[in-house]
Symmetry: D2
Subunit: 250 residues, 4 copies
């Protein structure tokens, strides 16, 4: 099986190297990843400029674009034949709860799914991640199982692994996304010219981190596996809205 491996921390990051070294033991793996750190890139695309690909010193292929660009270019142009699976990570830091929508790692997986391939995003939950090997092993084992139990074509997998030695991992839980309270997080400062500047600050507290959420699993030493849909239609609201929309006269 042929895997396209990408990430959002860039082609020189430690996390993608660790995952490559584990996956290459079991699969045919090609790395196509952004040439720089793209954390927070979400599903952004490089629309007005062209993309370029080039080999870097570690043998991986760098693309001058976003995680979605790297997967799209790799899967449709650079790899022949096309890959069977897209894996993104290991991200340096968590992709839990609401934050998944900002994640370039999850976006890389989403892009793979849009192009017709099953896809997995993997993150190591820590501000200073150390145990990449734990996340790499969980991912390799999960891939083997996934081959037996294919996902619906509108879903991807989001894996978050606590930053622990493999032996201390408590197990694996299937979870839903929790939620975070974000509104208080900007920090106002001044630059050296006394001009106002604003930074996103450290993340807010979890608002919904109860049993069953990804936050809860990771906090208790479990690897969290969340199936995500890529079809954002809110089907359950359609009928009611269809009713009241008729009140609206143009």
């Amino acid at each position: 099986m042929k895997i396209l491996l990408s990430n959002d921390d860039g082609v020189h990051a430690q996390g993608i190297k660790a995952l490559y070294e584990e996956l290459i033991k079991h699969f045919d793996v090609s790395v196509v990843a952004p040439d720089r750190n793209c954390s927070g890139a979400s599903n952004s695309l490089t629309l007005m400029n062209p993309l370029r690909a080039y080999k870097v010193t570690n043998g991986f292929t760098a693309v001058n674009g976003t995680p979605s660009d790297a997967v799209h270019l790799g899967a449709t142009q650079l790899l022949q034949p096309a890959p069977d699976l897209v894996v993104a990570g290991i991200n340096h830091g968590a992709n839990l709860g609401d934050d998944t929508i900002y994640s370039g790692t999850v976006a890389a997986a989403t892009e793979g799914r849009h192009l017709g391939m099953p896809a997995i995003a993997v993150s190591l939950v820590s501000n200073q991640p150390k145990h990449f090997q734990t996340a790499a092993v969980v991912t390799a084992k999960f891939i083997e199982r996934l081959l037996q139990h294919p996902l619906p074509s509108d879903q991807i997998i989001n894996i978050n692994v606590p930053d622990l030695p493999l032996g201390q991992l408590q197990g694996i839980q299937v979870t839903r996304l929790g939620h975070r309270h974000k509104a208080e997080t900007m920090k106002k400062m001044q630059d050296p010219w006394q001009r106002d500047i604003y930074w996103y600050g450290p993340l807010g507290k979890e608002l919904d981190a109860g049993v069953g959420t990804d936050f809860h699993a990771v906090a208790n030493g479990y690897a969290s596996i969340t199936p995500l849909t890529i079809d954002m239609t809110a089907y359950k609201s359609m009928a009611k809205m269809t009713e009241w929309i008729n009140e609206l006269s143009l």
Copy 2:
């Protein structure tokens, strides 16, 4: 009611001006938008650099960041009191089907929703949009109705309006997202130094554009209104996956 109006085409775009001029007839409206065109920005955030805000010549407030940045900064720092509703648009061009995940317009609305406000994205479906006024009127009328029928707190509204004079609009339909076939869309060219470059090309054909989809509504002269969820958990797969995940031994 106080509206925060943003977009992804930038603070100088024609679409946001047209929507402002319509909404200001009915509501209290403040514009906070990116200082440049951010099409394709998705939910990307400016994490490593600070944000700045400044007034531009048309009286609107520009932010040196993405659509999500503009909404976050506007809603949490710049506007006092905080807005009651976030509106993003009018986008110059469609945000239909799978393409919504790349949209900075939809992302701006999503950011508003994450911060606790109802939120609406509005797009005019055309490569060379002309009838911004049609989309502006549909939006103003829709907002009045929405106030009577509030959405669940994990949903936003995605409106796409055909580029027609208001009198030629066939009506409004509540729709689901269609799907597009994307795999064939990159175009390989060479720059003047004969180096390979790759562009995203014009969009693929619709694969799923049948009755009930946003593509179908717009193609038939209707404004399309799609409720979108911001919780991407694929609940329907959780039970089955929980079963087979136990097969996985670490």
Copy 3:
């Protein structure tokens, strides 16, 4: 006479508008300028991506690149026939002494000179510039004189005008570049995650700002006019270096 007017503060800046409105009284003027603020851009070029030009709401032409890009594209592709003179400004702030090498305004003029045209950079010396009209009038009058006294083909003109009402200007002085002491100017701070960050701070004191320098002229209420060379060869060192280079055996 046909003038290509550009700047580095971007096509929406107040300074370029003020200069346009004065020059158009006397000359044929076309504006081609960067689509965003490019302060500190120096002579940088956009080499790996293509340039695009588009009209903005004020009728000027914006280019998605640097000041040098805007002049190069305007002079060689967009304007037919080619311009006779390139003017850059009015910059919001000084371009004096060593700082000229970082200036996008001076760079825009340099680009014009490289393409075969006489060229002038104009700056208003103030952190919160007000009297653009003063700099605009000085520039218009200077251009008329320059037509009678053409410069050598390897030189451009750098004008700095104090931010005073025209009636308070003491006159015009031809000056040399002064020098500034720069080494102490970085400011170390921490971002909200306690990571070290470094900013350029407010500029150092002038080290060489005596009679005859541009610093001195402006500080005393005079418009400063400095002829600059674009040939950086240090001719006076060539003979001596040729001597001792022979000691070097490979």
Copy 4:
């Protein structure tokens, strides 16, 4: 002697590695370089955002900014004690004639000189450079000689080496900058949406490449060494201009 080594091709480039490996045999060398390719950056500075520094996998220090930023941050903040000499390169490609003003490599050296240190820019003249070792050896030998013959404090050194094995180098020549004809070099193309785009094309022919120029030296197999001034004042025009400026009445 302590050397700050930087470049404009980025901290992962082959040229800076080759130069490091040669210089470290003779001197105390620290590398602080941009985290990405900055070709064409000229003297541009990162003024509106902060800089950050971090170690990369090869032990060098990367800065998220331009070549001038990397030298400024390295020399004034990161290295204790401050370096005695700044070296920039080996650039992948020539920095000859007029093109020096666009060069990030020459800019890195200029920044060092502004901060009070002697400074050298080194380039390997080839589109696909191979013999970095030749340029590295020439540079190491030149530095030893330069210590005996210090340059005036307003000058830097620009070295260009032909891409030949060391044994085929014909010698070293002290040169002046030649000139290139640039006006015809843009190439108009269309992107996949039929929108006009413009690229800088391959460089124009040399207009002034006669005996004594850097172009001529390199074309004949010699390493070219050009002393450059960082004071751009055109002293020879000052007297005449002072005369006629008096004609100008405000």
